[in-house]
């Protein structure tokens, strides 16, 4: 499924560590795209309304709002810094003219309201137009302030702050289909929150062993089912996924379903356990399937079958022989995300060298594309890339050894309805869309 794409570049400038994008998420309608970065900032892009006159230019994404979500903190008790890096952003379903999203760093989750203001009150009694207080003695008559139109201003305000519930680093948040509760997961525990209540949360999963010496696995990702309000899944560093049913008991320490693929003994190596660690788990939009990403592959599971996945797609199998050097430069611990398209017919995930991969589940075809300035021009189609694993290297192919492992695409997002994708490459955000025929 080669995708005809045009590139839309948005950020320019010197690479600063704080600019590195750490999460990307479309909202429910796809009109808004939020990105969080290592500096604790959230930037929201909005799709331009379609202009009937220019048929070949469909809605572009422009910056809608920028705000500082989290600040760096210091935990005095443990003498540790708490990074302001935004780990995850999740949008809430729209409930009125304003938009709501949850953003989280390692320890604190915040609910932000993004609203537009296009009216301003003028004619206050106690202060001047520029805000200076008036001398009360000089006020001789009262007037009623009137609302006047003003330039559109987008404001972001924190509505709730959910803090102090996690001892370990938060890796996931997920909103329930009842639109009232959400979960937050750290390495060992999952908590259930109510959106209105910030001083209490329920712990529903706790895998901390009584003796920390016996710790063998941690929670790496968790998500609620898109339709069934009682179902959640969480993945572990040992390559297993557990599905829990909140109806059966208040504490979901005992799983309802346990998904694990039996290990292939022939490919066992020193690194087997490390590369089997699941970095992301996502339900399909239909709710029937879920997808997991481990280091080298993406697997699609049918929720009704626990024994093995129904599909396995190799992302960068050519790295299997390089695991040793990847272990040394720590790249083996990179956490890649994955995503479904709106109709669940395709899945996408990132790789190294600014490559990202798309798999069409129906035609079984896959493609590797690159997100970089040099290799794509605006409005031109992206060319598929190929990595050569050895032997003769053809023209336009790139050899495994010349892959840049510092250019990794960890975060990608797919528009919930249309063929638009957002790809975060270090500090750059690329938005690609399908050409209309």
């Amino acid at each position: 499924m080669p995708v005809n794409t045009k590139r839309q570049d948005t950020w320019k400038g010197i690479v600063q560590r704080s600019d590195i994008i750490s999460t990307v998420e479309f909202n429910y309608s796809g009109d808004l795209l939020a990105t969080g970065d290592k500096g604790g900032r959230v930037v929201i892009f909005q799709r331009e309304q379609e202009n009937k006159g220019r048929t070949h230019s469909r809605g572009e994404y422009n910056v809608y709002s920028t705000f500082q979500s989290h600040e760096p903190e210091f935990d005095y008790l443990k003498s540790l810094e708490i990074e302001e890096k935004i780990n995850k952003i999740r949008w809430l379903p729209q409930q009125n003219a304003a938009h709501f999203l949850l953003s989280t760093n390692d320890k604190t989750i915040k609910l932000w309201k993004i609203s537009e203001r296009d009216k301003r009150a003028e004619g206050y009694n106690l202060k001047d137009e520029d805000g200076r207080l008036r001398d009360p003695f000089r006020i001789t008559a009262l007037r009623v302030p009137i609302l006047k139109p003003m330039d559109l201003m987008v404001e972001a305000s924190p509505r709730r702050i959910f803090a102090n519930a996690h001892t370990y680093h938060i890796n996931s948040i997920s909103v329930n289909s009842d639109h009232e509760t959400y979960l937050s997961a750290d390495d060992l525990r999952i908590n259930l929150w109510h959106l209105e209540i910030t001083d209490r949360s329920f712990n529903i999963v706790d895998i901390k062993p009584a003796n920390m010496e016996e710790l063998t696995e941690v929670i790496t990702a968790a998500e609620f089912h898109p339709h069934q309000c009682n179902v959640l899944v969480y993945s572990s560093s040992k390559g297993t996924i557990r599905l829990c049913d909140m109806r059966s008991s208040a504490l979901c320490d005992r799983h309802a379903k346990f998904f694990e693929e039996p290990e292939d003994p022939s490919s066992r190596s020193f690194f087997s356990e490390i590369i089997s660690s699941i970095s992301d788990v996502k339900f399909s939009h239909s709710g029937r399937y879920m997808m997991t990403r481990d280091y080298l592959s993406v697997k699609v599971w049918d929720l009704n079958m626990e024994g093995r996945p129904v599909e396995t797609h190799q992302v960068h199998e050519y790295l299997r022989s390089k695991l040793c050097s990847l272990y040394e430069n720590d790249c083996i611990f990179d956490k890649f995300e994955c995503c479904w398209n709106g109709s669940d017919s395709a899945i996408m995930t990132g790789s190294y060298n600014n490559f990202f991969r798309m798999f069409d589940r129906n035609t079984r075809r896959d493609v590797t594309l690159e997100a970089s300035r040099e290799n794509s021009k605006p409005r031109a189609c992206l060319k598929p890339r190929k990595v050569c694993t050895g032997g003769k290297r053809k023209k336009d192919e790139i050899s495994v050894d010349s892959l840049d492992f510092n250019k990794k695409i960890l975060h990608t997002a797919w528009h919930p309805m249309e063929s638009i994708i957002a790809v975060a490459a270090t500090n750059n955000l690329y938005i690609f869309q399908d050409k209309i025929n």
């Binding site: 379903p93 729209q94 409930q95 009125n96 003219a97 304003a98 309201k113 609203s115 537009e116 203001r117 296009d118 009216k119 009623v144 302030p145 009137i146 609302l147 305000s157 289909s177 009842d178 639109h179 009232e180 209105e196 339709h227 069934q228 309000c229 009682n230 049913d245 909140m246 109806r247 059966s248 008991s249 208040a250």
Partner: protein
């Protein structure tokens, strides 16, 4: 309100700096109360801040009462319709709270429209709206005509009770209480009970919990409906309903979730008053007994704590066969907090079971607790004895409790001997002067010569505590000498507490103007002023035998008196 934006229109109209700031405005508008106030209230009913919305809805409900029926239809009902068809779910949830107030006084045509709107909200896409509709279902049903309740509300209730969202089903169960009140017994059985039974088997424990919680209310209503028909209906008809309702109860009793069972246990006892003696024995007794054997201690405790209801109806004897093993098991539970809980119920149980039963079966338990390994249990047991004496009287205490407590004074374990002293502390007031002086005091005084220092200083403390109850003869003749001897003890804690006690006792004696002996010796050799510097060795045994009164010691006692009395507090 010149310049204000229209209801619900435009961004920024009702947003402001923060919706919380709108709450005081909502309150103020409440006070204004006239028609003009409706538009801003409508606007406030759509904001996202729940507190503000709720207050606006409350105000609108009050305003609706002040409209004439004509004005209601002209102004209020259109407002409700607008909210109910709003784009955002916030306005639709607010609308749910307004149906019941405008329905009664509307014309028939308008009534039909209102019902239509409510129906559509019950099947709204967003769970929030369905939750709001479910929570207002009962209230709305109450103002409808009975026909409409049967044809429209009951299907809505059934749908909401089978909603895919747990949170909606929970609220539907609550609604069934109100609905049950309106229906006749037949209708209740045919229309509501099947849904309720289904809810009792719901996969979600939270829904089952709600059923357990509301169970008794449903029954109350069902049965009070029956009571009215009692004269008219045959008895087996009554029984049928009861059986159905009890079967429901039985299902919940065997639920696997402990929260469900606990909720049921608390509630089920109240049913006996409603059902009457025979029905209780036949239907509810098996349920009680099953719960008494439950593996979860909380369930058992919930049953035991609510025994008074059952006692009124059938008398405790019926239960006592099963009750006793249950109590004994709880009293010997491995977890001390469980034991503690049952001790706390003991006075209540004793009161209900009566003195004979108690003496026969429970007395030994109470005594056993006094020598429990855990201090908290021993302490609670001591308090327990005090409450029992208050309940059963001093004569009973004298015959049953006191002898057994005093026997413990000879126990080889010093902790048990101390327990005797604590018991005496607790019981002396309740038992009164005579028992204290004649029976308890000799034992206390005897323990003043105990080998273990802890016992000795607790003797001093006890004497201080029971002092006010004794008469002055005893104080002067018996207590004071012993205290003085203790004041000379080698152990410094004993000395300290003895001196404390002495000053209190002396204070009392002085008030009665008893002559105090004086001595003429100016200095007091032999008294160790450095007594507080001597390091204390734990478990030290001073090796003192029983006290012997010699001339030397007597002289010392007198000088000790001289030394202390001038220093005693005024």
């Amino acid at each position: 309100m010149a310049g204000a934006a229209g209801p619900g229109a435009g961004p920024g109209a009702a947003g402001g700096d923060g919706d919380d700031s709108l709450y005081p405005i909502a309150v103020l508008i409440d006070e204004l109360r006239n028609e003009d106030v409706q538009p801003p209230l409508e606007s406030l009913a759509t904001v996202e801040e729940t507190v503000v919305r709720d207050k606006a809805v409350e105000s609108l409900r009050q305003i609706s009462q002040e409209h004439t029926p004509v004005a209601l239809e002209a102004h209020f009902v259109p407002l409700v319709k607008r909210l109910a068809s709003g784009d955002w779910f916030t306005s639709r949830t607010s609308a749910c709270g307004l149906f019941s107030v405008c329905y009664p006084r509307a014309s028939n045509a308008v009534k039909a429209e209102i019902r239509q709107h409510f129906r559509s909200l019950c099947s709204d896409d967003t769970p929030m709206v369905r939750r709001a509709a479910a929570s207002k279902l009962g209230e709305f049903a109450k103002v409808l005509e009975l026909d409409s309740v049967k044809t429209e509300i009951v299907p809505l209730f059934t749908n909401l009770a089978s909603d895919e969202q747990d949170s909606v089903r929970l609220l539907a169960v609550e609604a069934c209480v109100s609905i049950a009140q309106l229906l006749s017994q037949d209708d209740l059985e045919a229309l509501v009970m099947p849904t309720l039974r289904q809810a009792a088997e719901d996969k979600s424990w939270r829904v089952r919990y709600m059923v357990a919680d509301k169970f008794s209310e449903v029954k109350c209503i069902g049965i009070s409906g029956i009571e009215n028909l009692k004269g008219i209906c045959p008895a087996d008809f009554l029984l049928d309903t009861t059986i159905n309702l009890s079967i429901l109860g039985l299902e919940l009793v065997s639920d696997t979730n402990q929260h469900v069972k606990s909720a049921l246990a608390s509630v089920i006892m109240g049913l006996s008053t409603i059902l009457g003696k025979e029905n209780t024995i036949e239907h509810l007794l098996p349920l009680f007994l099953a719960q008494l054997k439950d593996e979860c201690p909380e369930v058992r405790l919930n049953i035991i704590s609510n025994l008074d209801c059952v006692n009124e109806v059938i008398g405790i004897r019926q239960l006592s066969q099963s009750l006793l093993p249950a109590i004994v098991e709880l009293a010997e539970d491995a977890k001390w907090r469980v034991r503690l809980a049952i001790i706390e119920y003991m006075p209540l149980l004793a009161g209900q079971l009566g003195v004979e039963f108690f003496d026969e079966k429970l007395n030994s338990l109470c005594m056993a607790w006094l020598v429990d390994h855990v201090y908290a249990i021993r302490e609670a047991a001591t308090n327990n004895l005090m409450k029992l004496v208050q309940k059963f009287g001093t004569e009973w205490a004298q015959n049953t409790i006191v002898p057994r407590v005093l026997v413990m004074a000879n126990d080889p374990n010093y902790l048990h001997r101390m327990t005797t002293l604590f018991c005496i502390n607790a019981l002396s007031e309740a038992c009164g002067k005579e028992i204290t002086t004649k029976q308890m005091l000799p034992i206390v005084l005897k323990m003043a010569g105990d080998q273990v220092a802890n016992v000795r200083f607790n003797v001093a403390k006890s004497l201080q505590k029971i002092g006010p109850i004794l008469d002055t003869n005893a104080l002067q003749g018996e207590v004071k000498p012993v205290l003085q001897k203790l004041g000379q003890d080698e152990d410094m804690d004993v000395k300290y507490f003895a001196q404390e006690a002495i000053s209190v006792v002396a204070q009392r004696l002085r008030k009665l103007d008893f002559p105090v002996k004086d001595s003429e010796e100016p200095s007091i050799p032999g008294v160790d002023k450095n007594l507080f510097l001597r390091p204390r060795v734990p478990g030290e045994n001073t090796g003192k035998g029983p006290h012997v009164n010699t001339r030397d010691t007597l002289a010392q006692l007198e000088t000790a008196e001289l030394m202390h009395f001038p220093q005693s507090r005024e």
